[in-house]
Amino acid sequence: MMKRSPLVLGNKTLKDVTDDICAPVERFPSKGWVGMFLGAKTLLLFYIAILASVVGVGIGLLGVNSPVFWGTMIVTFVFWIGIGHAGTLISAVLFLFRQKWRTSVARTAEAMTVFAVMTAGLFPLLHTGRPWLDYWLFPYPNQRGPLWVNFRSPLLWDVFAVSTYATVSMVFWYIGLVPDFATIKDRAKNKLRRTVYGALSLGWRGTAKNWSHYEMVYLILAGLSTPLVLSVHTIVSFDFAVSNLPGWHTTIFPPYFVAGAIFSGFAMVVTLMTLVRIGFPEFKNYVTLDHMEVMNKIIMTTGMLVGYAYASEFFIAWYSGNQYERFVFVNRAFGPYGWSYWVMVSCNVLIPQLFWFKSMRRSIPVMFVVSIFVNIGMWFERFVITVTSLHRDFLPSSWGMYAWSWFDTGVLVGSFGMFLTLFLLYLRLFPAVSIAEVKPVLHVGYDEKGGHH
């Protein structure tokens, strides 16, 4: 029989699990956390200032102009939405496949999803230039006669897809947290904690009948989130694919965007998990090297999937015999934005190949660096798709370059401030590993006497 390595190291008892996971929430924050939080918060304040200028003065501050009307806001929107996908995949898809290793990373991955979608959601709203009128995006009964949104537009599908995704992933995450909030409430030493966590736990009591319904709802939510997550990035890709611009109008976009999203999402999970392991050393027993290795394997697989997609796009551009399509792809690789294409290929296709070597897959510094490169590469993928198709289309008379301004840089960099601030607050206030889900898998990989197989 094949030996299984333990999912949780250190022969933990049930009480140890509760103590370990609640510790970061219950103790005074460490200097490291405070330092990172202040950094992230400063970046967030900078972001708010940048966005205030962009909204106050107008989106002319950004580089979008004829012919590149979709710029940083859309590129970064697609990037952040993609980041969110790994959370749902780890949580929902692996749950359906009964992959027990997910329990240690699912909570944090879901948190990442929720914050990434929040970060992403701002961009299309701000990109409209008049965000105070964004409620026009929703179909609501109004007093201007029968004036409705256009349901034939992929931009409107996006509104429905992203808002549904945000709602369902938040609900999924929160439902998972409820029993753990009850645990923290029961351990609370003062009235304030007891009240706050008591309210968050909704009065959860953990009777067998409750658990029976709870597990059923968890399964249902996982089953609903799985097609949902695939639909969201498919619909985001429709924003491009349903147009008829060369380089966008391709049927490969939906699966290609979904693969890219999983790829970038897993890279972000690895980035964050290495940081969590450094910041909270007690979590090393829960988020083990085995967990990280499995995620690195997924990064390598999806990296090759996107590499395959890049190759098929080129092949089809040639094979279709469409001269505009062919030009766009030659221009992507060798035109004025060729450098961004090669940044994308190096980061997404070449660098993850390091993970063929077991020592690389299991080295924390290597995986941290690779995951950062993947994130850079995936941002550039969206940049390449958006900007290179727009800057040279059918007519040379309408060609131009994207006038990137430092406000664009501010928007891009600042969005990390928002994401990291939320994430760091989460690590301090919520149990970062699911207590109720880890306990049933404690014995995996141990024999009856408590030793390894």
Partner: protein
């Protein structure tokens, strides 16, 4: 809210296999209203307590169907009836274009209604329900038998719990 809770007797265990056995024995002793309390879902507990499969999937299915039809109704009525605008010569009732909306609303309705059903089934949210022991949400397990259950006899139950390996027996409200 306090009148929702009933008095009764609770036994506390410290090991998973003991609580499973205790739940089975309690059921065999003829009790029907007892509750088994644990910090995490225990494999086999539903059978031990005689709990039927959850009815929530039916709610999910119906809600999903309602969501699908709501999506169809919304897109059809707004785009083909109330404000029929010719967009690039496409038909007013452009079903393929409406499928994403219908799909998303199906998922949204099904997910939110399932969670609503969970709240109803578990009678949450509740304000400050009585707790038998704070460790029950961490590493201990309990069985609670309410005073109005058939064959309720405190001394008998206490002896049964002790025989089954309970570390503590409490008269309490739950």
């Amino acid at each position: 809210m306090a009148n929702n809770y009933t008095k009764g007797i609770a036994g506390i265990w410290e090991e998973e296999h003991l609580i499973l056995k205790a739940a089975r024995k309690t059921r065999e002793a003829g009790f029907t209203k007892f509750e088994a309390i644990s910090a995490y879902p225990i494999h086999g507990m539903e059978e031990a307590c005689g709990i039927k499969r959850s009815w929530i999937p039916y709610v999910t299915f119906v809600a999903g169907c309602v969501g699908l039809l709501a999506g169809l109704a919304l897109t059809y009525w707004t785009s083909a009836v109330d404000w029929a605008v010719n967009v690039g010569g496409k038909p007013f009732f452009s079903l393929p274009a409406f499928i994403p909306i219908m799909f998303e609303l199906t998922i949204l309705f099904a997910a939110l209604c399932s969670v609503g059903a969970l709240f109803y089934a578990c009678k949450i949210p509740r304000i400050d329900p009585p707790s038998i022991d704070p460790d029950l949400s961490s590493h201990k397990f309990a069985i609670f038998i309410p005073h109005n259950d058939i064959g309720y006899d405190e001394t008998k139950i206490e002896r049964m719990f002790k025989d089954l390996g309970a570390t503590e027996v409490k008269k309490t409200e739950y």
